[in-house]
């Protein structure tokens, strides 16, 4: 039963050409432009430093835009009567949510793979610890989509979802040092960043690229991402009843 929801959600996303733009084309354009701006006139060492910060930084920022697709999908289902109709079938809410959630984890994993591949092909970035980097990417996808799931079941309108996604993605990027190196930011913001998953993901991804990520730090970063993702899922399960109450039928 969960498989049916998964397959349907996957099909819908594969037909969505907008997703390709938001998730792949736009991040590539931004990454390219900002690298060009920040590396002009820099020497090779500084250039490598900037690229190693910008590529994972923009990946972490742009994965959050999947939340727009998640919000749109849930709100559309809610308002078209599909949510209520599925609720009349013998499928438990947690499996319904899992079926809707898993395709997005997969999509974000593919997005991260494409964006790192872009970095490797165009800028020859270092990927010294590929296994840890892959694992972190999966945790990152899990975290952002888990959070997206909660957001999708909490917002009343699509516009509200899009606005909140931008606040979370752009605000989080600013505070977590995805745009500017974290050590150049004020102390208070550096402390605040430690509460945000973007910070942990960015730092850990950078370290895997350099080949300096210790296992302890890997487990800490993964733990933070996992905790955020799981919290998102659990909160979404709690929100489901309220979501269903306002669903059209």
């Amino acid at each position: 039963m969960m498989g049916a929801i998964f397959t349907l959600e996957m099909k819908k996303n594969l037909q969505d050409k907008g997703l390709l733009f938001w998730m792949v084309i736009l991040p590539i354009i931004f990454t390219y432009l900002f690298i060009e701006i920040f590396t002009s006139g820099a020497d090779d060492i500084a250039k490598l430093e900037v690229i190693t910060s910008i590529v994972p930084g923009y990946i972490v920022m742009f994965v959050f835009f999947i939340m727009i697709s998640m919000v749109t999908s849930f709100i559309k289902d809610r308002d078209s009567g599909m949510t209520a109709r599925i609720a009349s079938a013998p499928i438990k809410p947690k499996f319904y949510l899992l079926g809707k959630w898993l395709p997005y984890i997969l999509i974000v994993c593919v997005q991260i793979f494409i964006l790192f591949s872009f970095g490797k092909v165009v800028y020859d970035i270092n990927l010294e610890q590929p296994i840890l980097l892959t694992s972190l990417s999966i945790f990152l996808a899990y975290m952002v989509t888990g959070f997206g799931l909660f957001l999708a079941l909490s917002v009343k309108t699509e516009n509200m979802g899009i606005a909140l996604t931008q606040v979370i993605a752009l605000g989080g990027a600013l505070i977590s040092g995805l745009w500017v190196p974290i050590d150049m930011m004020p102390n208070m913001l550096q402390k605040t960043a430690e509460f945000l998953p973007q910070y942990w993901a960015h730092q850990a991804l950078q370290d895997t690229m350099h080949g300096t990520l210790a296992y302890k730090d890997f487990f800490t970063a993964s733990g933070v991402l996992f905790a955020y993702g799981t919290s998102g899922f659990l909160l979404a399960v709690i929100r489901y009843r309220s979501f269903l109450k306002v669903a059209r039928s």
């Binding site: 039963m1 498989g3 049916a4 929801i5 397959t7 349907l8 099909k11 819908k12 037909q15 078209s80 009567g81 599909m82 209520a84 109709r85 599925i86 609720a87 009349s88 079938a89 013998p90 499928i91 009843r241 269903l244 109450k245 669903a247 059209r248 039928s249």
Partner: protein
């Protein structure tokens, strides 16, 4: 198998959407649920379909099957809940899988349903290319995939052409012949008269009347006699019924049909060529509905129900 709805209550905040609703729906019946906007029909249907779970009272299915209530119910919502970018058959597969149909069984059942809903030639076409009537039929088909014992239909003929409506009526009659119990919510009284054995009128969250359609017509609706071609009616008729000017004739609402007709015929025995038309007008369920619920507009009195 009997569906027992026992003292079901539901509140939305301070508003009582359902106030102790009790119904018994027997196996194989086509049971009409009629009420004005905001009366509580959709809430009741959602409770029966297990979409709303937080309510007071009980909904019980008394039968010999081991299947859960959800497995035995097919729900046809008022909205067209189909994936517009997928084909008809993909939509049927999706809903079949939700009820654990797999492999060959899923495929053969989808083909059967496509035949039943008259879309076998359009199986692979995308739903967005379909007319309103075709979408409505597919909407019903999706609820039939798992061969439900009870089919809940919430205004399934809204906005469709007469041909599709007739086709849907035939489908419903066939399903009923196959033993399926149908709960049919609608605003269209003629649909209830045509399809349903029993009907419940719901208003302000309460069942205000229920019973067999014919019995309710006898109890609440008075038949009339329509007479055309007469300039003046015999005076005796005034004591026999209520007379209203109607189109190009008179409508006499009465419980004494034979007496009224005899009086008219006697009065015009010698001038029978002046009498252009004399007919009995059958009472309508709409009259019962208006008698029970009043004729005030109910638009937007309550949201959510």
């Amino acid at each position: 198998m009997v569906l027992h709805i026992n003292q079901v209550k539901k509140e939305y905040g301070n508003k009582e959407a359902l106030k102790s609703v009790s119904l018994v729906i027997p196996k194989g019946a086509c049971y009409g649920l009629v009420g004005p906007n905001g009366a509580g029909k959709s809430t009741l249907l959602k409770i029966i379909a297990s979409i709303i779970l937080d309510y007071e009272g009980k909904v019980r299915l008394i039968n010999l099957s081991n299947q859960s209530l959800k497995q035995q119910i097919g729900y046809v919502p008022q909205e067209i809940c189909l994936e517009q970018n997928l084909s008809a058959i993909s939509n049927l597969y999706f809903f079949g899988k939700l009820y654990d149909l797999k492999g060959k069984e899923l495929k053969s059942r989808a083909m059967e349903v496509l035949k039943e809903i008259g879309l076998i030639d359009r199986a692979k076409d995308k739903v967005k290319q379909f007319s309103g009537g075709m979408k409505r039929r597919l909407n019903i088909g999706c609820a039939l995939m798992h061969r439900p014992n009870i089919l809940i239909m919430d205004e399934p003929t809204v906005g469709i052409d007469p041909q599709s409506r007739r086709y849907i009526f035939e489908m419903i009659k066939q399903l009923q012949q196959q033993g399926c119990t149908i709960i049919y919510a609608t605003h269209y009284m003629e649909e209830v008269e045509q399809l349903c054995d029993e009907v419940a009128f719901i208003d302000h969250g309460e069942i205000i009347e229920q019973g067999r359609v014919e019995a309710l017509l006898q109890r609440y609706a008075t038949p009339s006699v329509f007479v055309k071609g007469m300039k003046e009616l015999p005076e005796q008729l005034i004591t026999l019924g209520d007379i209203t000017r109607h189109k190009d004739g008179y409508l006499i609402t009465t419980n004494q049909l034979i007496a009224v007709m005899e009086t008219i015929l006697q009065h015009y025995q010698e001038e029978s060529d002046k009498l252009l038309r004399l007919e009995i007008v059958r009472p309508r369920l709409e009259d019962v509905f208006i008698t029970l619920t009043g004729s005030e507009l109910r638009d937007g009195q309550r949201g959510h129900v």
